[in-house]
Amino acid sequence: MNITKIIFLIVEIFSVLTACMEQASTAQKITLRLLPYVGQQPLIFNEYRYSNPGGKGHFKIRDFQFYLSNIRLSAEGHVYRVPDSYHLVRFDNENGFYEIDLTIKEPYPFSQITFGVGVDEKANATILNVGDLDPNSRMAWNWEVGYKFILFEGFLSLSEDTIPLVYHIGFDENYTELSLPLHLADTPHVSIFKVDILSLFNGQGALDLAEIPSVKFDRQDARQIAAGFAHLISTCDASCT
């Protein structure tokens, strides 16, 4: 090996090492935090504390979970797609909120986020375990129908009666994409969003839960609830901390 080759080798090793170090230093860690609300009130499970939006009585929520999919972050002239991005958002945990941690090896100053509420048509037709998709989970109807996008179960208490509430909303046509500004605090990079469960019952005017206490496979009813998907998630403002 002559001296020129050795010099080349050293330069190459040095440049590879520098590139690796640069890569590491430009990786961004971004946390998306979703806080659950029912209108203006924070979500508390298993308590009759929320008014029926379009009728009498109060309801309680026993289970609530939904799929948030295909997260993309946008900067000027650049879009970053989160790989295998199927997140089952649920709040029945110690924190009472849900977080998605992203590590992005790109230096762009992202200012917008786009994602879907539900599961896109292609993924909804498979039985692959991608991200949080799991055909053996509670969110799977069965392989012929696909996934529930949103699962809401609870009870409505009326003076004379207690009515079970079951809203299992799916179907490809109800997959809804949202774009929101991405406000990142300096350090750590946390962007906070509000999930308003009540928006599901206000999509096409205030719904009387006693009138439609259960929505599963009726497409028109499902569409009525899914009309609220567009307002389910918003950027957290002063009213939500």
Binding site: F45, N46, R62, L88, R90, D92, N93, I127, N129, D134, P135, N136, S137, R138, A140, W141, N142, W143, E144, E153, G154, F155, P164, L165, V166, H168, P213, S214, K216, F217, D218, R219, D221
Partner: protein
């Protein structure tokens, strides 16, 4: 004088290396990786603990322990007493009977496909791993009533155990006993029932079974004329077990009213909303695992279907999915029922019979190793 110092140093160095060599070299050789370990794609992801990987020796050891009555205080009860292979590792009793002779309050659970479904064991979910589960019945006074120290002493007198534990876990300990039993149980995979063959496209189900399958997989919705047996609300479509995530694999299925409701999962979580919640079991081989429910109160699958079809007891923590599921539109009255027809009930039972896996029930890899003919 100097030469002696040099010689002394050389000798101590060699002795040191020798001690390190003896201490670090396994006395019984290294464990061998398990071969041909296949699981169905539709069962989904599974994990094996990094500190208890499956090896030929750990599985063989676990199998031996599983069938060995020396694991009990009176040397008469083994794990297999209450978990018999021909009954999909149940015992046919409402409450199992162990060393004390006193029937237990709970029904022996089937052991199949334990790497999937709820990652909590026992009907109330009090163990969070198979390793943790394994030592509990061994020490329970009504089950195997064994002292772990005595057990380790007993096993240490058996050359086969000494060798197998040596290879698999570097010696006998209570942790190694738990790990070996967990390893063997992880291999109890039932995946060749007629339902599995149907899923693989090898056979078709007959008309009644197919009707049962459709009912099993559907929550009823009268508004869209969909009839359903509602089974899938708790039993996942491929595994037929409870769900894996968090506590989704536990529910209150309406067996008792508030006055009679047992603590169940709430005993573990301390949360009132989990009162009367029990683990949703796998339905694999359900036709051979009678009697049914956590206390074995139902003798037949017909009894089970009748429960969901009119026998539901109301309680504070009853699932809204059970209260709401009804095949009759605008049904008035206080009875909670699926309102399935007799034909539909029979169809669901026919489908449940397609979950019987004869190969699993007689697979020699899972059978009693003490009854095997000795090698010639």
């Amino acid at each position: 004088m100097r030469i002696w110092v040099i010689w002394g140093s050389v000798v101590s160095l060699i002795a040191g290396f020798l001690v390190i060599y003896i201490l670090t070299t396994p006395r019984y050789g290294a464990p061998n990786p398990v071969e041909n370990f296949n699981v169905p794609f539709v069962f989904g992801r599974f994990t094996i603990p990094a500190d208890n990987l499956l090896t030929k020796e750990s599985i063989a050891l676990g199998r031996r322990l599983f069938y060995d009555p020396r694991l009990s205080g009176n040397n008469q009860i083994s794990c297999a007493t209450c978990h018999q292979q021909s009954l999909a590792f149940t015992d046919g009793l409402a409450g199992s009977v162990g060393v004390s002779g006193k029937p237990l309050a709970f029904n022996s659970m089937s052991l199949a496909n334990l790497m999937w479904g709820p990652a909590r064991f026992f009907w109330n979910g009090r163990a969070t791993s198979l390793e943790e589960q394994a030592l509990i019945p061994i020490q329970h006074p009504d089950e195997m009533a064994q002292d772990l120290g005595s057990l380790i002493k007993e096993l240490s007198q058996d050359d086969t155990y000494v060798e197998l534990f040596g290879i698999a876990y570097d010696g006998i300990s209570k942790e190694a006993i738990a790990k070996a039993l967990a390893s063997f149980q992880r291999t109890l995979i039932s995946a060749n029932s007629r339902y599995d063959q149907y899923l693989r496209g090898e056979i078709s189900l007959n008309e009644e079974e197919e009707l049962g399958r459709k009912l099993f997989m559907a929550h009823p919705d009268t508004k869209s004329s969909l009839r359903g047996g509602n089974c899938i609300d708790c039993h996942s479509q491929f595994l037929t077990s409870g769900f894996t995530a968090q506590l989704d694999g536990f529910s209150n299925n309406g067996l008792d009213n508030d006055a009679a409701l047992l603590a169940g999962l709430s005993e573990v979580t301390g949360k009132a909303e989990h009162r009367g919640f029990f683990k949703t079991p796998t339905l694999r081989n359900i036709a051979v695992t009678a009697p049914y429910m956590h206390d074995g109160r139902f003798s037949t699958l017909e009894d089970v279907l009748n429960h969901y079809n009119g026998g539901i007891q109301h309680s504070e923590t009853l699932s809204p999915l059970i209260v709401e599921a009804d095949n009759i539109d605008n049904h008035q009255g206080s009875t909670i029922s699926l309102n399935l027809t007799a034909k539909e009930e029979r169809a669901i039972i026919s489908f449940l019979h397609t979950l019987t896996d004869e190969q699993f029930l007689s697979d020699t890899r899972f059978s009693d190793p003490f009854k095997e003919a000795p090698p010639r």
